[in-house]
Every structure is written in structure tokens, then in C-alpha cells.
Symmetry: C2
Subunit: 340 residues, 2 copies
């Protein structure tokens, strides 16, 4: 039921995802009639889908605390519950992010060793590979331990979706020198520098202007700065393309130039299209939940479903648990060493 | 001496600024021979300039604490001292930002009623008017009082450079609802909502994706988020224009389109050129200090000098002092009211 449009885009997205990945099966939660009507358009999808009627819906303006109280019987609540009960491998929703986070956190609980789950997404870069960034808004304030856990989770996510077995990880800061930034950042950097046995390269700090350069795979930050950075990047990309559009309209000559260079402009559009990077994931829960952007197209929804599929296949929850266990045992060893 | 190039660009910038504003006079601090050689190219500038020989220079890698210790006799240190001693109305430097901030803070001291000075700059928007944003990195962590003081200073700056006598002010946050964000932000919002007698409109929160929309004049944030937002905006603008450039090069046809639409592209370039927004100011000190970007062109330097001139003419220090006094007396009145 989620997203700005509802069942039509979600079902079309599922059909597209299914065409890309024949192993997928779907449980669709929400208004039975509307979903059934959409499903009739896609025979192959219908053959592997089950509709679960839900009369309730979590609205876009519902506060997380309210969402938790009334989640039972809603499409969002029931989809997450299916993951909790082991009836589904992952839940994908296009609905209210705060509500989804709250419902998922309560139902699935955070993994052992994780104090707070984080919201992570892929950002485009000038290279072929995207950038994994977290936290994007789940935790307004974070301590050094939270940031270290985010680094472990982000690296596991990068290994899952990027086919990169030793991703490069950096902390977002306001300078790259060791003395820059908050105490939390300096402490987290120290912990990560020492944890060189973990399956990623920690390469220190990075800054906001270097996010799109493609020379780092995972950028870790608190949810406040992450959200500011993500939205500022979105806003600026829109700002520049808007300027471009009005520049092209500024004279007859420019309009002609635009028509001729249209194929090039299309390339640019594809690269910047948020649908190609759709699918924000909640990391650190005992179960996989993916948030599709409310305004995503069917292609965007299919990408979010693809992200969920890849996380299931690569057993990301186990990857994170293993890395956390390694971190814990090394830290314990060191404490024992120090106690001798 | 500051900036990546040194005297040649700084002196050319001064000459350009002088052509725009005939009232300007200059004291030029640094290597006497090099400055004199440059000055020979600009007769009219030379007639209103005095060279002050300084043998020392604050390098780009010098830490703020070191810079303070060795500031005496350096071009940066002496330029700031001239402001302190009343021999100059404002100092403009293209050098090390952290060092300049530290030297300026120590020499000029913060104004009464200001706990911490802030770094502020102008950002481009889709409208004709720029956006005043602060703090951009001087203070990593800020409390509600700091943010309120930044709002007062930013609004005074907007009234000075923007010809807008009642600027719209917002706090940068991760959502626009009243309940979003840190306690500091919520407290600052409450204080600003109550301070409706101040010469600006406080309009609540804004988000990173709305910075370039031009529907707000002043955006206030802590130095960490501000620095992240500013640099992310710069990085994303460069990323999109790089994509655009490679899109144009992707085929013969696109190259032709590019040639035809070149005038339009030039418009875009002008709008995004950081030189047109050059001149970051340290607000909250007993004296005017403007930081020109290290990589600024002569036009950029002239803009930074223009910013300094406009701050002097509009007596920004008095504007800020008056507004702070109004805020203080209202707050006192309310406390007295409450005590009755």
C-alpha cells in the first residue's frame, strides 16, 4: 500500500523485480481488491504471489509512537510481522520511514552487539560503484561505539551489494586531520584504526565534498549529519539540473543545442535518477527491512526489492553478527592482555 | 600573501575592487618586493595603497595554536592587528582559515553578548538572492544560546549585504516538524519563536534539500553540520557538472550540441562559480575580518573585499550589538515579569 501512488506502482515494481530474479516470491499486504486488480495485469507475478488482506494503513503523517500502537492489522505492521515470524525473508515498504523504523525495531529487535540500528542507502558517485552511507537519520546523536557498529554494518552491506570483499571505510568529518571533529569521532577513529583484523580498510576521515568521488565505499556518520549530507546532495543535484534546464531554455540557440545533445542529457538523467539507487535498508535488526522511496517509480521499487533479495541471498545478518563477534573477541583479548 | 597564488591575485583583486568602489584604500601586508612589483601594474590602486613589509607568513598547514604563537610579524597577524588598533576598518585574507579565526579571535575578542564567533558565507540559490549560512565550521558543537546568537548575527549580515531589512531565518534540521532534531535545536527554536520583536522573521526548521530554493535568507546551524552541508553542496555541484562534461564528450553529436549551447553553459558556470560568492566572514568579533577562498580568482578576491566594504559601511558590528541588546532587555523583562 505504501508510496505516493500505492498498489499500482508497488505491484508493477514487483513484476519487474520478478522478471530480473525468477526465485522471488511475494506476499502482498493491503487492500485486497486494489491489489488483486493490479495483479491481474501480471500473470507470472500472480502465480508466485499471495495477497494478505489488511484493512489498516499507516499514514504518512503518523508519528512513530502512534504507528507502533496501531500497527496490528495494517499493511506495514503485518509485512514486518511476517519477517519476524519467519514467513518472509524480507519486508519492502514504500511508506512512512519513521513509522517503519519504529515498527521494525519493536518487532525484530536489534541484533546482539548492536545498540542502535541505522538507516543506510546507496549514493551515486563519478565511478561505477555507488557509495554506502549510514546513518541517514535513525539516530540523531551517536557515540563512538555506535559509529564503530555502523562501520561494521556498512562494510557488511557493501560486501553484500557491491561485490567488494574489503571495502574502504571512512568517517564523515569536517577535516581529514586526526585532531578534527567531535570527541566521538576521534574515539571511533581510534577504535577502527586498531580493528584492522575486520574485513574492511579503515582509511580515516572524509569530508562532504568528497562523497561523490568514488574513492571510498562506506561513509559512516551520525544520523543528523548523514541526513543533512544526503538531503543537501539531493537538493544541490536538483538545483544544478534546474539551472541547466533554464540555461537551455534561455535562447533559441541553446534550445537547439539541447535538442542535439539530448542523448547526452539522458545519460546524465539516468545517472542522477534516484530510482537507480532506491532501497534504503535498516541495518542491525534481526531481519531484513528495506524502505523504498515514497516517490519511486516501478523501476525504483524493483531496485529496492533487488536490494532486499541480495541481502537475503548474502545472509547479511550473519555477516554482521560474525564481524561483531570478531570485534568483541579481539577487544576482550586486548582487555585480558592489558589486565595481565 | 594569502591564497594559493599569493600577491599577484590579491593585488589584482584589490585593483578590481577599487574600480568598483572608489572610496577604498588599502594596506598591503607581506613581501615588500613582490607586492611592489604587482602594484606597479595598477597606478590608481598604488596611489591609495601602503605596503607594510612582513617577513613572516602563516603557512597553510600551520595549526591554529601555533599560528597564535607566531602571528607577530606575519602578514596575517599584522593585518588583523591593524583592525584591532583602529588603523584599518577591515582585514581580508586568503590564507589558512583556522589560523585566521584563531588570530582574529585572540586579537579582536568576541563582542559582548556573543559566546562564540561564527563563520558565515553566501550560498547560491535558484533565485537572485544568495543565502546566508552559519556556522560553517568555527564551532563543532553548539548549544541553544549559541544558535540564537548565530541567528541574530546572520540576520544582521543579511540586512547588510542583501538589502533585505527583515530576512527570513530558519534552523537547519533533519525534518520540519517541531519534534525533530536535537534538544539544542528545539530549545533554540523556542527562544527564536518568542523573540519576534527582533528584526527578522523566524520561520522554524529547514532541511538540507531546501537550501538552494531561495525561500529563506539565513540558515543557522552548528559548525559541524554547516561544514558538512556546505562541502556536500560544493562536491555535488562539481559532481553534476563533471557528469555533464563527460556526457557532452560521449559522442560527436553531443559535442556539437555542446558547442551550440555554449552560451547557455556559460550562464550555468557563472551562476555556480564560487568566485561570485567569495568572502566568508567571521561574525561576532569586535572588528571585521573576511576570509577569501584560497583558490579565488582576482574577481573572487574583489568580491571578498566588497563584502568587507559593505560590512564596514553598514556598521554590522553595531547592528549586531543593538539586536543583542534588544534580545537581552526583552529576556530580562520577561524574567522580571515571571518573578513578580
Amino acid at each position: 500500500m505504501g508510496g505516493d501512488v500505492g498498489p499500482s506502482v508497488m505491484v508493477e515494481g514487483a513484476a519487474l523485480a520478478r522478471r530480473r530474479d525468477r526465485d522471488l516470491r511475494f506476499d502482498l499486504y493491503g487492500d485486497e481488491d486494489r491489489i488483486a486488480a493490479e495483479l491481474r495485469k501480471y500473470d507470472r507475478l500472480a502465480a508466485v504471489s499471495t495477497i494478505h488482506r489488511c484493512d489498516g494503513v499507516i499514514e504518512g503523517h503518523t508519528k512513530p509512537s502512534q504507528a507502533i500502537r496501531k500497527s496490528k492489522g495494517t499493511s506495514m505492521g503485518e509485512a514486518v510481522r511476517a519477517v519476524k515470524d519467519g514467513r518472509a525473508h524480507a519486508a519492502v515498504s514504500g511508506g512512512n520511514t519513521g513509522a517503519l523504523m519504529a515498527i521494525a525495531k519493536l518487532a525484530l529487535r536489534t541484533m546482539e552487539g548492536i545498540d542502535r540500528p541505522a538507516l543506510s542507502a546507496l549514493l551515486p558517485t563519478v565511478r561505477d560503484d555507488d557509495l554506502v552511507m549510514l546513518d541517514l537519520g535513525a539516530n540523531t546523536e551517536c557515540d563512538a561505539q555506535n559509529l564503530v557498529q555502523f562501520a561494521v554494518m556498512g562494510a557488511a552491506y557493501a560486501r553484500t551489494v557491491m561485490d567488494n570483499q574489503r571495502p574502504r571505510v571512512r568517517l564523515l568529518n569536517i577535516g581529514t586531520e586526526e585532531l578534527k571533529g567531535t570527541e566521538e569521532l576521534k574515539d571511533a577513529a581510534q577504535l577502527l584504526r586498531e580493528a584492522d583484523y575486520l574485513p574492511f580498510h579503515f582509511e580515516g576521515f572524509t569530508e562532504g565534498d568528497k562523497l561523490a568521488r568514488g574513492d571510498v565505499d562506506v561513509v559512516v556518520t551520525d544520523g543528523f549529519s548523514g541526513n543533512i549530507a544526503l538531503k543537501t546532495a539531493e537538493g544541490t543535484a536538483r538545483f544544478v539540473t534546474d539551472l541547466l534546464r533554464s540555461a537551455f531554455k534561455s535562447s533559441l540557440r541553446s534550445r537547439m543545442g539541447f535538442l542535439i545533445s539530448k542523448p547526452a542529457m539522458r545519460l546524465l538523467k539516468v545517472h542522477l535518477d534516484p530510482n537507480n539507487h532506491n532501497g534504503a535498508v535498516f541495518l542491525g535488526l534481526n531481519g531484513i527491512v528495506v524502505k523504498s522511496h515514497g516517490g519511486a517509480s516501478a523501476k525504483g521499487v524493483a531496485n529496492a526489492i533487488g536490494v532486499a533479495g541480495s541481502m537475503v541471498r548474502n545472509d547479511i545478518t550473519k555477516k554482521i553478527a560474525d564481524d561483531l563477534e570478531t570485534f568483541r573477541s579481539h577487544t576482550l583479548d586486548k582487555l585480558n592482555e592489558a589486565a595481565k
